[in-house]
């Protein structure tokens, strides 16, 4: 699988919702548990710029293709946040710059990978760490795509489903980039594979952990991925990860659900 960076940058647009009939939320609002999930997704999307920072400090950048992707990706994710903020605003939930700032200030410099980096001296690990970042990104993008797909199915609201479909389509292109990068960097590199496996097993947590409270993470996991249908999606992500070099048999997503008591 090759990733065409020129096509990706050329095609990169902000997600659009102006043509969708979302105003009928005013008469037919979404249920509270969906609002809670949307709020979570919205915050995670806006937080991407902080994740970009974590990517940029580990020398994942410096190559034209990675730089080009990061620029477009960061903006697309920002617009996912804007789109969800719009849906939330129709439900009387305001998300503004000041609130986002407060959250980031409270978080400080928190990078989930930081302890791993420190323990492994990233200056020595260097290039191999880029493979970890790419794999990490792939896992997050797979789960984002699955989450939007699931929410669309659960709600059955036609305009919302279309908006979520548009967002999920962008997430799938992000998956393609990260998975291609991860595969190329892991293949034939047992050291990077070992490091990546170690990082996923010991440091990975569902996207949003560390930004949101544990209660919120558990709510979203249960809401989107509880039950047999949800578990099917989760197992599919684990299978995708397991197909990458050196990741056979990892079941980090299923493990995360089990650890949170989300029943299959």
């Amino acid at each position: 699988m090759a990733f065409d960076i020129d096509k990706f940058t050329q095609d990169s647009v902000r997600v659009n919702w102006e043509d969708l009939d979302l105003d009928n939320f005013r008469e037919n609002p979404l249920p509270p548990e969906s609002i809670r999930t949307l709020r979570y997704m919205c915050d995670v999307e806006y937080h991407t710029v902080c994740y970009l920072r974590d990517m940029l400090v580990t020398r994942s950048h410096g190559e034209g293709e990675v730089n080009a992707f990061m620029t477009m990706w960061n903006r697309e994710e920002f617009w996912h946040g804007e789109a969800l903020a719009h849906v939330l605003s129709l439900h009387g939930v305001t998300v503004n710059y000041d609130q986002l700032k407060d959250r980031r200030v409270k978080l400080g410099w928190r990078d989930r990978l930081a302890p791993v980096k420190q323990s492994l001296l990233s200056n020595i690990v260097g290039k191999d760490f880029v493979a970890v970042h790419m794999l990490w990104g792939a896992a997050n993008e797979w789960s984002a795509a699955a989450a939007y797909k699931r929410l669309g199915v659960l709600e059955g609201h036609p305009s919302l489903a279309e908006l979520l479909r548009r967002i999920a389509a962008q997430e799938s292109r992000h998956v393609a980039f990260y998975a291609t990068q991860a595969k190329a960097r892991l293949a034939g590199n047992p050291k990077a594979q070992k490091l990546a496996r170690f990082a996923l097993k010991n440091a990975w947590a569902p996207v949003g952990s560390g930004i949101m409270t544990d209660d919120e993470v558990t709510h979203v996991m249960g809401h989107l991925f509880g039950g047999a249908e949800g578990r099917k999606e989760i197992n599919a992500i684990d299978r995708h990860i397991g197909r990458l070099p050196g990741m056979e048999g990892l079941t980090i997503f299923a493990d995360a659900l089990d650890a949170r008591g989300v029943a299959a």
Binding site: R53, R59, N96
Partner: protein, 267 residues
């Protein structure tokens, strides 16, 4: 998302301008002179350095400023397409030469990539949000000299108009944002004012940190040596001097002066 008064970040994020190759009449831009090509290459490489700049801001408390990061997200997107358009013009002229880093430049780059983000993160997190004032002042200076460079390059080679005019308009908005942010931030506290003044004092001409001075300097001589541009430089400096606590500052003229004296020594 709601926004406070001043520069309207929300509207800016909604109306980015992206220069696309397919909209340019590249054939009309063949056979550009060497000075023009060297200038465009210099500017293109500066635009390509956007993510490095972004990283340097994001490791500091500035990353929490969601208004600033919303701006930066859109700014990086605009800069990407500016660089791409310039690359298209350079390609059309078969100009493949890039400014290579010097040995010292490589050392600096490696330091900047590996050590200084961490050091900055620790240092600036102790300083707290006052550091934002310095970042905004530097962003303003970078945007002002980029704007002046493009405008001047367009004067010297009128054929560039179709590429340069939209770029200048894009830079105008960047300047507007930074003026607005820097004014608020510099006035916020004495510490912010101090950090802002220090940032202006230690500001360096974009694209001059890694490459040989022998590369940037001829470009700046080509663009700014003529006495007739003095007024434009003074006008740009006056936008900095109008900021709280920076009366009398003329960092751009000063930086050009340093390049000029270095040139005199080398010749």
């Amino acid at each position: 998302m709601s926004d406070s008064a001043g520069f309207d970040v929300r509207s800016y994020t909604r109306t980015p301008r992206s220069l696309r190759r397919k909209d340019l009449d590249l054939a009309a831009l063949q056979g550009l002179g060497t000075n023009t090509l060297l200038t465009l290459r210099h500017l293109q490489q500066v635009e390509r350095g956007t993510l490095r700049l972004m990283r340097d801001l994001l490791v500091t408390p500035t990353h929490a400023e969601s208004r600033v990061t919303a701006f930066l997200t859109t700014w990086a997107y605009e800069e990407y397409w500016i660089a791409d358009a310039l690359e298209a013009v350079l390609d059309e002229n078969n100009h493949t030469e890039v400014a290579h880093s010097t040995k010292l430049g490589e050392l600096r780059r490696s330091w900047d990539d590996r050590v200084s983000p961490t050091a900055d993160a620790i240092r600036t997190n102790l300083l707290g949000s006052d550091i934002v004032a310095g970042h905004m002042a530097v962003g303003l200076l970078d945007s002002l000299v980029a704007r002046a460079s493009y405008a001047r390059a367009g004067q010297l080679e009128p054929r560039l108009g179709a590429v340069i005019d939209p770029i200048v308009a894009i830079k105008d908005r960047h300047v507007e944002f930074y003026v607005d942010e820097a004014s608020d931030r510099l006035a916020a506290s004495p510490a912010a004012g101090r950090l802002g003044r220090r940032a202006v004092r230690t500001w360096r001409w974009p694209g001059s940190r890694y490459g040989a001075p022998g590369y940037v300097q001829p470009v700046l001589r080509y663009l700014f040596a003529d006495p007739s541009v003095r007024a434009d430089i003074d006008a740009a400096d006056s936008q900095v001097a109008a900021l709280p606590g920076l009366a009398g500052a003329h960092p751009i003229r000063q930086a050009l002066g340093r390049f000029a004296s270095r040139g005199a020594r080398h010749r």
